[in-house]
Symmetry: C2
Subunit: 401 residues, 2 copies
């Protein structure tokens, strides 16, 4: 059996970054920038006022006090967005709004709070030093300066900075497109009448939602236990998806394992036993002309979910050219004892109480038991060489998103 | 000036939960369940095998050893999804796949690994105790049992459990629809030719991306400094949006503050000074026939961003009937000194180094300086009564999403 880290390394060696594309800023959200983005204009692009007030020459107001205000005629009004040229004459002032361009000749802004707010003539009761309440051209970002480096994940503030710097598009490796394919004759649509032997499909919903939670775009599919149908689905979807994820059809049963049967003789997908529980049987490789990476996850929903967190999510990031740090582990005290198979790392479903520093394993640790998974906020990680831990022992815990 | 917590309390007293709607499971992702969901069938709905192997009567294999295997004829094959009734006769076995229904009369499954894998006749080299490798009907969730309680946020595992329990739809308070409206004559589309006095709009992109990052659905709008146009936009958008967010037009400049002018005499929107920097000027209330909550955020992008994190995101959760815990603060050692205005809580942009336990304030702390925001991974919180902190002091730090 392969250790978890060794299997992940195999996956990441194969999951290469996709080609970047030019997208509008909103579509580029969640993408990874593929080339350094520089400012197409200085930020700000002109000297402007940081407050509502009066643009002045500082020398004209140096003597202002509350007892003896300086009175200046208000020669003009400059709202934000005013694009006409303004020039300040000595001994006058201009009423100016936040963000409005500073008139030529002004070197300070007196905030409206230091004045009587006059319209034609203003009484100024406090001096403003040169530069007061002025944002200088380029004091945020100089023209041509690097704003967002290649490799950055584009969240709200990076998108906003690109916009402010004049980019309406960005060259990115976008949110990965992931096609999820649940396999099995037993699967039917949730809520449809059930015949004994059938179950309502949950894996396609589970994995598609996990893809979206991880920042990807998911397409949800379901295929019967027919190897030709699986091959056809993989062929078709590999042309458009950045990543393929099947569930089911990879256990030990031979001819009934549809995914294994569909990939029989396909040298570029390797089936592995990974030293973990749940999720021991795994498969990964590339399929189709585009050599699209493919995960063949086990069919038990808890196995599929844990496999997603450990392997699929890092591979999604890798397709964006982004390294995902391993999920952080934090210590918590077990409230009850747990058992774990020898030679396999267990990921037990539990409820972490941050405040108390404790974690309580849930009843129902079977890999088919979704009920416990839906109550869990954490996975309790029991190392390969440990077969039991007692109440009061400290365990490593991985928080769930 | 109002403390941050007092203002948030005002907001949350007004932001009431929206009416629940019935949505398909995929659309319901990220929604908050409005009514307890119970299992429409037991989970699993029939006894089934947890492994690939042979369904047997345990008594028939009790003597099996590697040296002296028990041989049984293989009377049938039961793949997963087989809906025909099977009955096991004493002294025979059935080849059975993971997830396939257990034949009547069988009380254990011998894993294929304990056999020679025979097709017509199988050699079994290890006994299986009664119940071995069998998942009993209802051992995950009993029929009618509560699966997901009202108030739960629907992530991948909750969606999957609803699907497994036969729900094709869910009654939820869905991801909130948030209309973002940037105001200002100075705003133009990023990349368009700039006339001095104009800037490329970044706020609409910033806030829309923040809404999506927080789990909402965003519409992006831009309106000129015309109070009638602002009133018209608020009227129209309040009919469809769950939350409205404007930026700009609320400073001290009087007639030029378009949002204040548009809402003049509108008793249900209150303008406040909140004891924080950036983000002191705030406004909140309800508008339109639907009494849609409205935030009027300041126009400086860093102010708008900090306001979003502190006030808009909790209000989005409140619209879903969900209480959002305050952002957790963690201690970190300042690498350089910082200053903060008296009577106001500062949220300084910084780079938190988790491993080192340090935080470095970024150059460029102006509320218009997006460059620093895009480099920040944390906000350094300086309390109201503190006006400076030195290198080596421990500060409270809020991680950014």
């Amino acid at each position: 059996m392969l250790p978890v880290e060794a299997y992940l390394a195999e996956v990441l060696a194969i999951a290469q970054p996709i080609a970047p594309v030019l997208l509008g800023l909103e579509e580029a959200e969640g993408g990874v920038l593929a080339a350094d983005a520089t400012a197409r204009s200085p930020l700000p692009s002109f000297d402007n006022s940081s407050m509502d007030g009066y643009a002045v020459q500082a020398a004209d107001v140096v003597a202002a006090t509350a007892a003896a205000p300086v009175f200046l005629p208000v020669a003009s009004q400059i709202p934000a967005g005013d694009t006409s040229p303004h020039v300040l004459r000595v001994g006058t002032c201009a009423r100016i709004m936040t963000g409005a361009p500073l008139p030529a000749g002004a070197d300070a802004v007196v905030p409206v709070e230091w004045t009587d707010g006059g319209r034609d003539r203003v009484a100024i009761s406090q001096p403003a030093a040169p530069g007061h309440a002025i944002r200088r051209r380029g004091d945020d970002v100089a023209e041509g300066q690097l704003m967002v480096p290649a490799g950055a994940l584009l969240g709200p503030s990076q998108i906003a900075l690109l916009a402010a710097g004049g980019h309406r598009e960005a060259m990115v490796r976008p949110r990965p497109q992931v096609a999820v394919i649940a396999t099995g004759n037993e699967l039917t649509e949730p809520g449809s009448p059930l015949v004994p032997g059938q179950i309502w499909d949950s894996n396609s919903y589970l994995l598609a939602a996990a893809v979206r939670q991880a920042g990807g775009v998911a397409q949800r599919h379901r295929v019967k236990d027919d190897p030709d149908a699986v091959v056809a689905a993989l062929d078709e979807l590999s042309a458009s998806a950045d990543l393929l994820v099947t569930s089911g059809g990879i256990s030990m049963g031979g001819e009934h394992d549809v995914v294994k049967a569909a990939l029989a003789g396909h040298a570029e997908v390797a089936f592995r036993k990974v030293a973990m529980q749940p999720g021991m049987p795994q498969g990964f490789g590339v399929v189709g002309r585009s050599r699209t990476p493919l995960f063949t996850l086990p069919g038990n929903p808890v196995s599929a979910f844990v496999s997603f967190q450990l392997f699929v999510q890092p591979a999604m990031a890798a397709r964006q050219g982004r390294a995902l740090a391993p999920p952080p582990l934090s210590p918590a005290v077990l409230t009850v004892s747990v058992r774990s198979p020898a030679q396999r790392r267990s990921y037990l479903r539990g409820v972490l109480d941050h405040a108390a520093g404790t974690v309580t394993p849930l009843p129902g640790q079977g890999s088919h038991q979704l009920g416990a998974l839906a109550l869990a906020n954490a996975l309790i990680v029991v190392p390969e060489q440990v077969t039991s831990m007692q109440a009061g022992d400290t365990a490593d815990v991985m928080s769930l998103p």
